[in-house]
């Protein structure tokens, strides 16, 4: 608020996707140089009045973000910057007199022409443990050699002997040369820990795969490398996806406004007066 003051224009921010099931927007979000494999790219609009927050055209607001996502997918930009697939847009209003903060996140997800379906298994039922271990170290090696967020999604195949080979999305055609379509597998660094729901960003990736590579089916490893605070990939999923239909040239339909805790499409509100109101702070001060 100190820096933006009354500026009510749309600004670019970033966020980190945190396991499990969390997106974190904090002070670092205004630093555009965020470099991590689990980054999320977003926009923020802070309104100056509660009326503006309330009356602003919500459909137009998310539509702008969804259309930008579609451009990022069709232009190929999202191939090397996966944070664009995990995108969000955020509308806020800060009531600085009452220390109440209104906010509403939208996570645009493009809808496929026909429903994509998937069969979910546990990774450990499909791949043997030595392969999972090799996959884990191959992913970590690729990540440490890369500074850009282009490792949220990686290609993976089994090589000669018992080796596991990992590749970048930009190497798609060359990487799959001589590989049967049924064997094509993508590794998604999955922030979700739900047994049958991968992280949200996978939806936009599948739209990218559909649009760019005309994929009809794909295996996805939802790679979950943290379990109870330890490096442990045993909760990872293996999903066989069917991607029927064809995408046109225009931006598909989309969804994405976050629902509130009672499941309604509505903004949220936090009251930080207990943390910020000087008179109330004085009560707890010793």
């Amino acid at each position: 608020m100190d820096l933006l003051r009354l500026d009510a224009s749309l600004i670019s921010i970033s966020a980190t996707v945190q396991s499990p099931n969390n997106l974190c927007v904090d002070g670092d979000s205004f630093d555009s140089k965020l470099t991590t494999f689990s980054a999320s790219s977003g926009t923020l609009l802070n309104t100056n009045t509660v009326e503006d927050f309330k009356n602003r055209d919500k459909n137009a607001f998310i539509k702008a973000a969804a259309e930008k996502l579609w451009v990022d997918i069709t232009s190929g930009e999202a191939l090397t910057n996966h944070a664009l697939l995990a995108c969000f847009t955020l509308l806020t209003f800060a009531d600085l007199k009452k220390y109440k903060f209104y906010y509403w996140f939208a996570f645009p997800a493009l809808l496929p022409p026909e429903h994509f379906t998937g069969t979910i298994s546990e990774l450990k039922d499909v791949w043997s443990q030595p392969f999972i271990t090799r996959l884990q170290s191959a992913i970590e090696n690729t990540r440490s050699a890369s500074q850009l967020p282009d490792t949220m999604f990686l290609l993976v195949k089994k090589g000669d002997g018992d080796s596991v080979i990992v590749g970048k999305l930009s190497e798609w055609e060359a990487f799959w040369e001589g590989v049967d379509e049924a064997e094509r597998t993508v590794v998604f660094s999955d922030p979700s820990n739900l047994p049958s729901n991968p992280g949200w960003a996978l939806r936009n990736f599948l739209i990218l795969a559909k649009h760019r590579f005309k994929t009809l089916s794909l295996n996805v490893i939802c790679f979950r490398d943290m379990l109870q605070g330890k490096r442990d990939a045993s909760a990872s999923l293996f999903v066989r996806m069917n991607l029927p239909g064809t995408l046109g040239d225009n931006c598909p339909k989309f969804v994405g406004w976050e629902k509130n805790s009672s499941g309604k499409l509505s903004p949220r509100l936090v009251d930080l007066a207990p943390m910020m109101d000087p008179t109330r702070l004085a009560e707890t001060a010793v």
Partner: protein, 308 residues
């Protein structure tokens, strides 16, 4: 903050003698914690609050989303606990971590053996300083646990979107791919309170210091009164206060570090006495977190296991 400013920087390692850390040792210990427990990460904090004695990208440690399943009130107390509290607080302020040492969390998790330190002897100096603290303690003892009325008052604070703000005519495309929002019978995921917990370096006390930001089951921030429900009653009103975070523009619940050095020194000595390997300085924070679990017994942030 002015005290921090005036206090000279600790340069020589004294952690074995006094339980305190130099900034360099704090960074070493933090690096080891991040390596051992990937839920912890270094944070840069706000640029205008940067402390020059710490690396720019390693200002403080943070772990988010720490589940806190139960309130302290749900802990089971064994017979004799109360007696112990009286005895300890009457003659040994330092032993405050030892109270309720037999306490077990209702889930059956074993009490950490770290809490086992009531037989420590005191030097004459310590005795003197502790006697000086007694007056303060006796005032604190009179405080009753939060009356039920306070709870009710608090409920009014739960933020509710003003009705006029509710956007009723919002509609979106049908989305069969999204997870259903209604909790079905197969919903195994219990929503719990969670905490963002950060560890900063306190230059005045030369020890790590814990700050807490709590969320309720719906991710709304907890009020200080609600946070006190998750802090052991021996400490809630005495050693926990709402203070501004040294690296962020937030006022958070913090556990006052005035006794941290002494307690850490005791724990380190105890490890030596019990014939375990001597604590390396980079393991300091692993031990520190075990000590914190006596203050925050229901927060499940400690994934370090034995770790040593």
């Amino acid at each position: 903050e002015w005290r921090e400013y005036l206090n000279p920087l600790l340069r020589e390692s004294r952690f074995k003698e006094t339980g305190v850390l130099t900034p360099e040792e704090f960074v070493l210990a933090g690096d080891f914690l991040v390596y051992k427990c990937p839920t912890w990460a270094w944070s840069k904090g706000l640029p205008n609050k940067r402390k020059d004695f710490l690396p720019a990208d390693k200002q403080y440690l943070i772990t988010r989303n720490v589940p806190c399943l139960k309130r302290i009130a749900a802990l089971e107390y064994k017979d004799g606990d109360e007696e112990e509290v009286e005895m300890d607080s009457a003659e040994d302020d330092d032993a405050w971590v030892a109270t309720h040492k037999n306490r077990v969390i209702a889930s059956g998790r074993e009490a950490e053996d770290i809490a086992d330190m009531d037989e420590a002897d005191l030097s004459a100096d310590q005795q003197k300083s502790l006697t000086a603290n007694l007056a303060h303690l006796s005032i604190a003892k009179k405080e009753e646990p939060a009356p039920a009325g306070e709870e009710v008052e608090d409920l009014e604070d739960i933020p509710d979107m003003d009705e006029e703000l509710e956007i009723v005519d919002m509609e979106e495309e049908e989305d069969p791919a999204a997870m259903s929002n209604t909790a079905g019978a197969d919903d195994k995921f219990v929503r719990t309170r969670t905490y963002d917990m950060s560890i900063t370096y306190d230059k005045y006390y030369q020890t790590p210091r814990v700050f807490l930001f709590g969320y309720d089951e719906n991710r709304n921030p907890l009020t200080p009164v609600q946070i006190f429900q998750d802090i052991s009653q021996d400490h809630a009103k005495k050693t926990v206060t709402i203070e501004s975070h040294p690296h962020e523009s937030l006022s958070l619940a913090s556990i006052h570090p005035c006794k941290h050095g002494n307690v850490m020194k005791r724990l380190i000595d105890q490890m030596v006495e019990s014939g375990k390997e001597e604590l390396r300085v980079d393991q300091y924070l692993l031990l520190f977190l075990k000590f914190m679990s006596s203050v925050l017994p229901t927060m499940e942030y400690d994934y370090t296991g034995d770790g040593f």
